[in-house]
């Protein structure tokens, strides 16, 4: 047997004491399609960053373990070194210049040149571009992919599906390419485009190029992969030839329940209420990278509804769309009255409160005091904390009193209500956000990624606060990337896949069902699949 193109042995990496990868082994042979699957935060990107010698790795103390290319140990200190060794990468977001032609993009910074009068004196940088040779190379790369588009067409205006091919053409035009890393390449493609794409990937592999394929779509994995590696929480949970797995098994391995000693925070699961508080009809939200493509969802009075799904599938966009922060279409009905979209003020006026996932960007005025942050929304939309009279002057006394009360109630660790919010820890910042939402006296409360970027102790405290609010009669819609967190607090959990509702599950539903819904299977398919295996 020949030497594997890529071997990663016992790779471990920690960032500031937090271990994000532990003893990962990956081996890719010549002409093999190797699929790397795993949830967000499973460590896939960190592993790829290590392979490419990205500065995020080298600047944080490097990694442990060994990387071998063609059997020889290597340690890349820059992406340039990795590319030089014959590794190519197609990024999730397109790295194409819209105003350049297909050829110019394929040859970006690798242009063929020929000398002229001036370049002989002033250096190679002034050599004239050899457009004929560039076009010929681009043509042959495109032909290898079975693409018939003209090589001088500008990239702007090409269908999205084509852009992906242009990216790959750029990689295969590099002469020494041995290993091509594809990072969720089909996420932006339509189904037929994805089909065509997978065919091309197989064609490439048959020419001897090895492929490391990162994806969430499990059916794609089954269709093209020779071998599979599944990561979870920075550990390798399973690896082997594709034929050893079914989709259901993979899904289960991917999302498998984390050990949760805390138990349920949300208290006993409540009986399903019948009164609808919020009705969402065909909501489309254009949030970059998190598009929602038409969703119908009801929120019942007094419940905690969880919104889950993989990154980039649109779960974050739901609350942002309802609250008017991103361009939206569709219908949102709150207590029988339609809420105008694209208008944050109207949403707030109607008593909806929102704790944003972007705490430091949208959630807080970082350079202002805790007190001002807590009262800001209520002051602006409900005319609270103002002195009587037409001038709307701030009532500092009332603000300070309320801030002190909130600090105690929400256990915000600080030096006082005048402390600048920027100086607080993530957890305490989050508590300020929740205190502000609570100051509005909301009946419906949206909270997104409440525990992102805060330490473990503060995490459970924040979740408890949310559960406490709920017990006081506030309906809560909570969006989170951490499934375990949703399961510990929610009454129902809606899973979003590719901007649409994939299904609604009970928090105690089996892992397999969650995995399959997140991978785009419908609830019926999930259930029938189970019956078939039982």
């Amino acid at each position: 047997m020949s030497v594997p193109v890529l071997e990663m042995k016992k790779i471990s990496k920690s960032f500031y004491g937090t271990q994000v990868l532990k003893d990962i082994n990956v081996t890719v042979n010549e002409g093999e399609i190797h699929c790397l699957v795993g949830e967000n935060g499973a460590g896939k990107s960190t592993l790829m960053n290590i392979l490419f010698g990205m500065s995020v790795i080298t600047d944080t103390g490097g990694y442990e373990g060994e990387v071998l290319i063609n059997g020889k140990p290597v340690a890349f200190d820059s992406p340039k070194a990795a590319i030089g060794a014959g590794i190519g990468m197609v990024h999730q977001e397109f790295m194409l210049l819209p105003g350049f032609s297909v050829t110019e993009n394929i040859k970006l910074n690798r242009e063929d040149t020929k000398p002229n009068l001036f370049s002989r004196v002033l250096g190679r940088k002034l050599e004239t571009l050899d457009r004929k040779k560039m076009a010929a190379d681009a043509r042959s790369a495109l032909d290898k992919l079975g693409m018939s588009i003209d090589e001088w067409v500008p990239v702007a205006g090409l269908p999205v599906g084509y852009l992906q091919f242009v990216e790959i053409a750029r990689e295969i035009d590099k002469e020494n390419l041995q290993l091509l890393v594809l990072d969720e390449p089909t996420a932006v493609l339509t189904e037929s485009e994805a089909q065509q794409f997978l065919a091309v990937v197989q064609r490439l592999a048959s020419t001897g190029i090895s492929i490391l394929f990162i994806t969430h779509r499990l059916d794609e994995v089954m269709a093209v992969a020779d071998t599979i590696t599944i990561l979870k929480d920075g550990e390798l949970v399973s690896s082997g030839p594709t034929k050893n797995y079914t989709i259901a098994q993979m899904a289960e391995l991917m999302v498998g329940r984390k050990i949760d000693t805390k138990g349920r925070i949300g208290g006993e699961k409540k009986e399903k209420a019948t009164k609808k508080v919020l009705e969402i009809r065909n909501l489309r939200v254009d949030m970059p990278g998190e598009r929602l493509r038409g969703i119908d969802l009801d929120v019942y009075e007094g419940e905690i509804l969880g919104i889950g799904g993989l990154a980039g599938h649109g779960k974050i966009a739901l609350a942002n769309g309802v609250m008017g922060l991103y361009a939206s279409q569709g219908q949102v009905i709150y207590e029988g009255v339609e809420v105008p979209l694209n208008n944050p003020r109207e949403a707030l006026n109607r008593g909806l409160a929102f704790v944003s996932e972007d705490r430091r960007g949208v959630g807080l005025v970082l350079e202002d005091s805790i007190a001002n942050n807590i009262v800001l929304t209520s002051m602006q939309t409900q005319d609270k904390f103002l002195k009587p009279g037409p001038l709307k002057l701030k009532d500092q006394k009332q603000i300070t009193a309320h801030a002190l009360q909130s600090i105690e109630r929400f256990d915000i660790r600080c030096t006082g209500p005048d402390q600048i919010v920027r100086r607080l820890s993530g957890g305490n910042q989050q508590k300020v956000c929740i205190a502000r939402a609570f100051t509005q006296n909301p009946k419906l409360f949206f909270v997104s990624e409440p525990t992102r970027g805060i330490d473990v102790g503060a995490k459970s405290r924040v979740l408890e606060l949310i559960a406490e609010l709920n017990r006081m009669g506030v309906t809560v819609v909570i969006t989170s990337s951490e499934l375990a967190e949703l399961r510990s607090i929610c009454d129902r959990i809606a899973i979003i896949y590719e901007g649409k509702l994939s299904g609604i599950l009970s928090p105690d539903a089996p892992d397999v069902e969650y995995g399959l819904l997140m991978a785009g299977k419908s609830l019926e398919e999930v259930r029938s699949g189970e019956r078939a295996t039982n």
């Binding site: 990024h91 970006l108 910074n109 040149t113 190679r124 002034l126 571009l129």
Partner: protein
């Protein structure tokens, strides 16, 4: 029909301006010979400066208000060359040579500052121009004759520090223009000056066909993507500003050899705004500028300059109103073009989002 619409909306600014100019020409009732003479003179004088703006636009740094720095380098060289009594075409070339290292230095400094102010290059460049003006005045109005010993009756008044307000550039006046002129009616066409302008136009065109030019274009479109592809974006941006500054220094020297007198404290002040107004009038934008637009814009802008006093006299009974009007138009057109550009890119972005959501 659709194509006509597209053409009009794409070239709204030059078309609008051409109409205003035509009206001006109609009301000014100027003899054609005179008009031709003025236009030829002004094209020869200004085109080089306007062309110096193209490279930074393509490199994504917007309109380089910082060409004032280049103009200053040119003027410092001219002051020195006057002091040393260089003359003729040889003196002019030597002056340009003297200005070059200064312009390179200013360009590097300006480029470094602009790299710290990405996305705000234009306003930063403008303020940098004001600042450089302050330093220049400090040196030539105050230091010269006090701290810096400098005795020259042609340049200084012995009773007070600083240079004279106006310096006569007799030795190099017309040094380039008068090498070879062709007479058309009353108009003397300075062939060599136009050849130099043509040479610059060809050089810029050819430059964008080279590897370095391609790098500039890539950086101009998207810094991030260009950087990922391994192009040194910051270095390229500095280089673009250096090129522009050096060209502006040469452009200012050509401008002043045509005028024949140096307005020590004012000549450079409006170089940036006027050149930029001309480029914008030609239909360029913050992100797109071509040689044709630069030349077309220079033509239209100066046509308006020539006719507006007489047109003002004819329409309003006062040449002053026309004077006022042309300055108003110069700044107004910059404001309108910038606003149009912002408005267009925003509506483009909106259209794109709509497409995406409905897809």
């Amino acid at each position: 029909m659709n194509q006509v619409k597209k053409f009009i909306s794409k070239n709204a600014v030059p078309i609008l301006f051409a109409i205003v100019c035509l009206l001006g020409v109609y009301y000014a009732q100027m003899p054609g010979q005179f008009l031709l003479m003025e236009i030829v003179k002004r094209m020869a004088r200004n085109s080089f400066l306007v062309l110096s703006l193209i490279i930074p636009v393509v490199a994504g740094m917007g309109l380089n208000f910082g060409i004032v720095l280049g103009a200053l380098a040119g003027q410092v060289a001219l002051i020195l060359s006057t002091h040393w009594e260089w003359s003729g075409i040889g003196g002019l070339l030597l002056t340009a040579l003297l200005a070059t290292p200064m312009a390179v230095l200013f360009g590097i400094l300006a480029g470094m500052v602009l790299n710290k102010a990405k996305g705000r290059e234009m306003i930063t460049g403008m303020v940098m121009g004001f600042f450089a003006n302050g330093v220049y005045q400090f040196i030539f109005l105050f230091l010269v004759g006090t701290v810096i010993p400098f005795e020259n009756a042609a340049l200084r008044i012995s009773t007070s520090p600083g240079l004279r307000n106006t310096v006569n550039l007799t030795r190099i006046r017309g040094a380039l223009d008068n090498i070879w002129t062709v007479q058309i009616g009353f108009t003397k066409v300075p062939i060599v000056t136009f050849l130099v302008i043509a040479l610059l136009a060809i050089a810029i065109w050819a430059f964008f066909k080279t590897k370095l030019g391609q790098d500039f274009r890539a950086v101009g479109q998207d810094r991030h993507i260009a950087g990922v592809a391994g192009i040194q974006t910051d270095r390229n941006r500095v280089l673009a500003i250096v090129f522009s500054t050096v060209l502006a220094a040469w452009g200012q020297i050509i401008f002043l050899q045509n005028i024949g007198t140096l307005n020590t404290y004012n000549s450079h002040e409006q170089v940036g705004t006027f050149a930029i107004a001309a480029l914008l009038i030609g239909g360029a934008s913050v992100t797109r500028a071509t040689i044709g637009q630069a030349l077309m814009g220079t033509f239209l802008f100066h046509l308006l300059f020539v006719v507006s006093p007489s047109a003002g006299q004819a329409i309003f009974g006062s040449a002053q109103v026309g004077e006022y009007f042309r300055v108003f138009v110069a700044y107004g057109i910059i404001a309108i073009s910038l606003a149009l550009h912002a408005w267009r890119s925003r509506s483009l972005a909106k259209a794109r989002l709509k497409e995406d959501v409905s897809a």
